[in-house]
């Protein structure tokens, strides 16, 4: 870890995707600035929530941190090392410390691999343990995430979304990483299953001192998981702060609009919220016009 207690420091991160036109002779006509100058840091053991609407650049930010996408510019310091400058082999070693849980438990698991192979693959890639060690480690990991370890020889399609997400989490835990990027880990799940997975992620964080970057579009879900929250819009961070403060006293108009739009399960409160959000939308539209 770096001297200032930060596990991860992201500064002025940019990721631009070229827009090309023309059939035979493609030429670049512009850039989509998916991530446009994002800076934040995460302390060890902390959860930073990253919220935003579709296309805001939140997932791209997560991928750039893990170097799954090469950032256009900017710096990503993790455990005191600059990830953007690492070579393949060094990066591979660093990946033991940082893992990802994906959104869609239906497409992120290889349908031709057994549950045991999926969870054990990171161990093989990093050459950890003997065959026997790995097998007992796989059973232990599955047990930790609440998945019946006797099903290691089954295939993902035999399980429900919630169970599959547990497999994905076990895989992410296999190398005992310090940082896990959770990219919309519950958005494909029903409410009752979603609660199970969120509780599991909280338990794992406590038991293994994990640090999370928790990416989601659901403001209530992010609130329940995060110590601090960053709000993204159009590739930029518009606001970042302690969860409680950001939700009770949002400063940026976009954050206000986002919070006012959330339907909450309280019909009486909703009446007021609806009136307030109509007003706010009107004001925002006026603001854009002038």
């Amino acid at each position: 870890m770096s001297s200032n207690g930060k596990l991860l420091e992201v500064s002025d991160l940019h990721k631009h995707f070229p827009i090309r036109e023309g059939l035979l002779f493609e030429r670049k006509v512009g850039d989509v600035k998916a991530v446009d100058g994002v800076s934040f840091d995460i302390a060890e053991g902390e959860t930073l929530g990253l919220v935003g609407e579709s296309g805001s650049g939140k997932s791209t930010t997560g991928y750039c941190i893990l170097q799954l996408l090469k950032p256009t510019s900017g710096s990503v310091r993790f455990l005191g090392r600059e990830l953007t400058e690492l070579g393949r082999e060094d990066l591979r070693k660093m990946r033991r410390e940082m893992q990802i849980v994906f959104q869609d438990p239906y497409s992120s698991l290889d349908p031709r691999m057994t549950v045991g192979d999926i969870v054990g693959e990171p161990l093989i890639v990093h050459g950890i343990g003997s065959r026997q060690d790995r097998s007992s480690r796989i059973r232990q990991l599955l047990d930790v995430v609440g998945f019946n370890p006797s099903f290691t020889n089954r295939y993902p399609h035999e399980f429900s979304g919630g169970q599959r997400q547990r497999i994905g989490i076990a895989r992410a835990l296999a190398l005992s990483p310090k940082l896990i990027v959770c990219d919309e880990p519950v958005s494909a799940l029903d409410v009752s299953i979603q609660a199970q997975i969120l509780n599991l992620l909280k338990d794992l964080q406590r038991d293994f001192q994990l640090t999370y970057l928790f990416i989601a579009h659901d403001l209530a879900v992010v609130r329940s998981m995060s110590d601090r929250i960053a709000v993204m819009n159009k590739g930029q961070l518009v606001e970042i702060g302690p969860a409680e403060q950001l939700y009770t006293n949002p400063q940026h108009d976009y954050t206000k609009a986002l919070l006012s739009a959330v339907p909450i399960p309280d019909p009486r409160a909703m009446k007021e919220r609806k009136a307030a959000r109509r007003k706010l939308r009107h004001a925002l539209a006026e603001g854009e016009r002038s």
Binding site: S192, A195, Q196, L198, L219, R223, V262, P263
Partner: protein, 338 residues
Amino acid sequence: MPLLEVNDLHTHFFTREGVVRAVDGISFSLEKGKTLGIVGESGCGKSVTALSIMGLIPKPPAKIVSGSVIYDGQDLTKLPERKLEDVRGREIAMIFQDPMTSLNPTLTLGIQITETIRRHYDVPKAQARKKAIELLDEVRIPRASERLDDYPHRFSGGMRQRVMIAIALSCDPKLLIADEPTTALDVTVQASVLDLLDDLKAEHDMGMILITHDMGVVAESADDIIVMYAGQVVEQASTLDLFDRPEHPYTEALLGALPQIEGEGIREGRLTAIPGRPPDLIDPPKACRFAPRCPYVGSDSCAEHMPELRELRKGHWVRSAHPSTERAGVRQPDRAPA
């Protein structure tokens, strides 16, 4: 007279694995100008209920085994297809979850909107086009007359859903069925589409059935709510009564499982997860379908017999042997008002 009356509707799917009882005895009625919310998790039968009303279930494998859907004095389940086509779109219209796939990408909006109008009314093309422009105006799409000749790919998700709403309204239906109309949309877009639906419902004096998995969405839009679980109605009440005093253990659990946006100790606290998952609807247990996940199930009958849907207090129906008001001695955690 209610606008729509659904009586003991059973829609089953006859598959190779067995008979799936997707909808297994649903009854409700809807008054003009009211919104009925149907909530439940995936596979509970809420969409199949809507498709059954519209006569849009895939036959085979699905079949309405028994029950009736009474609209305007006639039973829609008995109507021949030709007659049903006159009702569909004209009297009852539907919008679907995914605005990205419900429009034909190869046709302009103008063609897709006027198609519906000309199917039901004998009007010249020019007049249908004029009506289409009015409709796009009504759903707040700017520069309607220019946008009419655009193809769907030029519209965002929220805009496409507005176009779907315009098509649904094109023949002034008396009943609008919205099946997860905002699930695929961002939260700010969702808010504006829900507000739009509210306005249009009032302006057109329609009845609306709003199907969703989101308790927040029904809390803001519905007058009455049906909670579905495993093909059945487990609770039915006015929106205020349902949220003030939820009775069924499943409804309580659903509300407890929702992360809260306001309050204290949210970060430290745990959500009340519901253990297990819904039963297989092929050969579901004869007992209460929620029993395997229910914290109140005891040695009593509900593990063996299906509880009836009964009226606990005026307008509040519940299918459980252990509704919260009857759980003597079991102290309920108070749901703090947000």
